[in-house]
């Protein structure tokens, strides 16, 4: 039969379990607002009963462990969606910047500069004496403004591209810091879990994994020792148990980026190899920035190049057919870029042709306003009253021609048939379209992420109500156990008194 002392032990065990339950509840309440905290609960079981003549007699309760309430799949989904959200957030924010660059202030956009250039030509054709320097100077000034503003757009976009490139370097070092920490935690967890689950260390590691997921796209494998291995999207092991691989931002002189030789690539340094992994990194901020630098920004710059080339080429072709006042020679209006191997960099290289630019030793009288040589004097150039060719130049404002696309070879445009104004409209419109869909994807992803976060909090978050109810329950249990103990003590007293 079970003795009173056994019952005393049962009550004592009960008190102990209640106290550790209280500790856990207190821990939960204290961490209710801690980012990434998973609520914990005591796992109890009935302790081993004693066999007596009368059968098995219960011996109370014992605590098995304290465990985190988590759902691994919910956690992994949260990681995945966090990664995706970070990519989209990065892209949407870069899109916003690009958009504000290409739009310009009201009335100060690229299309306004083009309009003003054609307006100046119009003034030249309407001047009753086109030899008057004012009208020609105005054309030159408007052309300079147009060229300057193309340079400015090009410069601003390249500036954004450089900013993106710089953030790659800092993102890479953040990734390295996090992976190193995870590797260290792996070691600590393996050591701690020889005895029991290291809940708080695991929470800490989960939080790090989440912030790593903000930088790159990760997939996870946990081994039976509790060590976590992380691979980035391409399958490269970033953390292998307690060893962290490194990423490195490298300017590779042997394989310079075709866009700008100073741009960094992301190289992978681990598992005995060292190679360029830029194309393997897709998700997270790092993936978003890489994509923006080499995709969106490079694309916007190259589209501007194509427009600049189309402008210079179509304008020059017509301009060469007319006559200036000084001679019968064909003159370019914009710099001749046809020697380039492709239309790339045309925006940067665009300028006014030396022939017409006084600051390069040319003369505004070389602007080809005339359609024929002076019919009375027979030369040397066009007659001063002849502005027929300006009409041909002005036609380019709405005339449709085959536009150049990014990367086209001079002489063989492959774009759509469109006018110059449409060309600008397409450039800005495409960026606007991209910005709009980036914004929309981000809004959708925010909703998805928020659902994933809600799901995680639903399972692992601390509910104060629940914890307080638990507190009340534990208090009652403590009182009851204490009552059992005091009853037994009293009985023992009675017993001792009888002796």
């Amino acid at each position: 039969m079970a003795g009173l002392f056994d019952s005393l032990g049962t009550a004592a065990r009960g008190l102990g379990v209640v106290q550790s339950g209280l500790a856990t509840t207190g821990h939960n309440i204290a961490n209710a607002d801690t980012e990434g905290y998973s609520r914990q609960r005591s796992v109890l079981r009935t302790s081993l009963p004693q066999q007596t003549n009368a059968g098995w007699i219960g011996s109370g309760v014992e605590q098995v462990s304290v465990e985190r309430v988590i759902d691994r799949f919910v956690g992994e989904r949260l990681i995945r969606e966090t990664s995706r959200q970070a990519t989209l957030d990065t892209q949407a924010s870069i899109y916003r910047q690009v958009e504000s660059v290409v739009t310009g202030a009201e009335g100060e956009g690229l299309s306004d500069d083009l309009t003003r250039f054609f307006d100046a030509l119009d003034d030249l054709s309407n001047a009753s004496d086109p030899r008057q320097p004012a009208a020609r100077t105005q054309v030159l000034a408007a052309a300079e403004t147009l060229v300057d503003s193309i340079h400015r757009y090009d410069g601003q976009l390249r500036g954004l591209q450089r900013d993106a490139d710089r953030s790659i370097t800092s993102l890479v070092s953040e990734v390295n810091a996090i992976t190193q920490e995870i590797a260290d935690l792996n070691q600590k967890i393996a050591a701690a879990e020889v005895t029991a689950p290291a809940n708080d260390l695991r929470d800490q590691r989960d939080r790090l994994v989440l912030s790593l997921a903000e930088k790159v796209d990760v997939s996870l494998v946990t081994d039976n020792q509790g060590m976590l291995s992380i691979r980035i999207s391409g399958g490269l092991p970033l953390v292998d148990k307690d060893i962290a691989a490194k990423l490195e931002a490298v300017v590779d002189p042997a394989n310079p980026n075709p866009l700008d030789p100073t741009f960094s690539q992301v190289w992978y340094d681990g598992a005995g190899s060292f190679f360029d992994a830029s194309s393997l990194i897709r998700g997270g901020e790092l993936g978003g920035v890489l994509e923006a630098r080499d995709g969106l920004l490079a694309g916007a710059i190259r589209d501007l190049d194509a427009f600049a080339y189309t402008l210079a080429d179509t304008f020059n072709q017509v301009h060469r057919g007319g006559f200036g006042l000084l001679d019968a020679n064909a003159h370019d209006f914009f710099t001749d870029l046809s020697a380039q191997t492709s239309v790339d960099d045309a925006a940067r290289n665009l300028g006014l042709a030396a022939d017409i630019d006084p600051s390069q030793g040319g003369s505004i009288e070389n602007i080809a306003a005339g359609a024929q040589l002076d019919p009375v004097a027979g030369g040397p150039g066009a007659a001063v009253g002849d502005t027929a060719w300006i009409e041909r130049l002005k036609d380019l404002r709405t005339a449709k021609g085959t536009a150049y696309l990014a990367g086209d070879v001079p002489g063989t445009p492959t774009g759509a048939t469109s006018s110059l104004v449409d060309g600008i409209g397409k450039w800005i419109g495409d960026i606007g379209q991209g910005a709009r869909s980036a914004e929309r994807s981000l809004a959708q992803q925010n909703a998805v992420l928020s659902a994933a976060q809600d799901r995680r909090d639903e399972i692992s978050g601390v509910s104060i109500d629940e914890e307080v109810a638990e507190l009340v329950k534990l208090q009652a249990a403590f009182q009851a156990n204490a009552k059992v103990m005091s009853t037994i003590t009293k009985m023992l007293d009675d017993l001792f008194a009888a002796i």
Binding site: A32, D33, Y95, E99, S100, V102, T103, S111, T115, F118, D122, S125, N126, A127, S128, D129, R131, G370, Q372, D374, P375, V376, A377, A382, A383, V384, G385, D386, T387, A388, E391, K394, R397, T398, V421, I424, G425, K426, I428, G429, I431, G432, Q433, A435, R436, E439, S450, Q453, D454, D457, E458, G461, V462, S463, I464, D465, E466, V468, A469, V472
Partner: protein
Amino acid sequence: MRVTQSMVSRMSMQQLALQRARLARTQEQASTGRRLNRPSDDPVDYRSALRLTDALSQTGRYLRSIDLSRTRLGATEQAITDSTEIVSQAKSLAIQARNDTNGPEALANIRIQVEQLFGQLLTASNTRAAGGGYVFSGVASETPAFAQSGSFASGSPPPTVAFAGDDSAISVEIDEGVMIEVTRSGAQVFQGSVDVFEVLGRLWQGIDEDDAARMDGAIGDLDLALGQLDVERGELGGAGAKADAFEQKLRGQAQTLTEQVSVLEDADAYEVYSDLVARETALQASLQVTARIQQPTLLDFL
């Protein structure tokens, strides 16, 4: 479903951020009065607005061309009107000279008047547009259209006048692909089928030599010259009328374009303001709800 504190606070924060973002957007529309503030607001409409704005500016340029063309049209027309007046005067002088009652002094007087008319005609034919070149010289606008050689001296042949300009008219574009001629070819106006200078010279010689047959021939040719000047003035009048017609058309077009751009770009004031009120209300509701649900827990009731 378990609802935990962090879910509630995150949801509140997200709702507040969303409401504020919407309010900011409506506020922007209300304060700028524009629906399209950046391309991503509506990429398709933005492109259309860009194209229409350019078309509008081009219409403005054509209107300006029409305005400016009137300077040269007016100068040319005035010169031809003046020439007609001169030729009419010459004709009445010629008829006066043919009157047999004229004594030699009276004839000499008429002769001198014809010399003056000749000079006036040369001045008219070398008219310059205000701030510009010679209207009858075509594209060679810095070259006087007509040059006189020789001078009037009784007993010798009259001076001759040769066309020194360019035999063309200046065209101006007043709408896409529509040109009008704002000047006339000097050679055609003054030395077309009738050479007005030569006829005046002949009249002078007839008076000088008191040669009735020569004078009669000159009088007949002066009538032809008047006809020729009328035809040229008619052409100019036609160009002017065309300019007027296109001006009307372009003004209408500009108005339509302005309306179209406004439809694309401008926010509907009524809609925006009612949106603004609705969004403000929504934000206030969110704030109140947040303040209310953030507080109570079981603790409040134990």
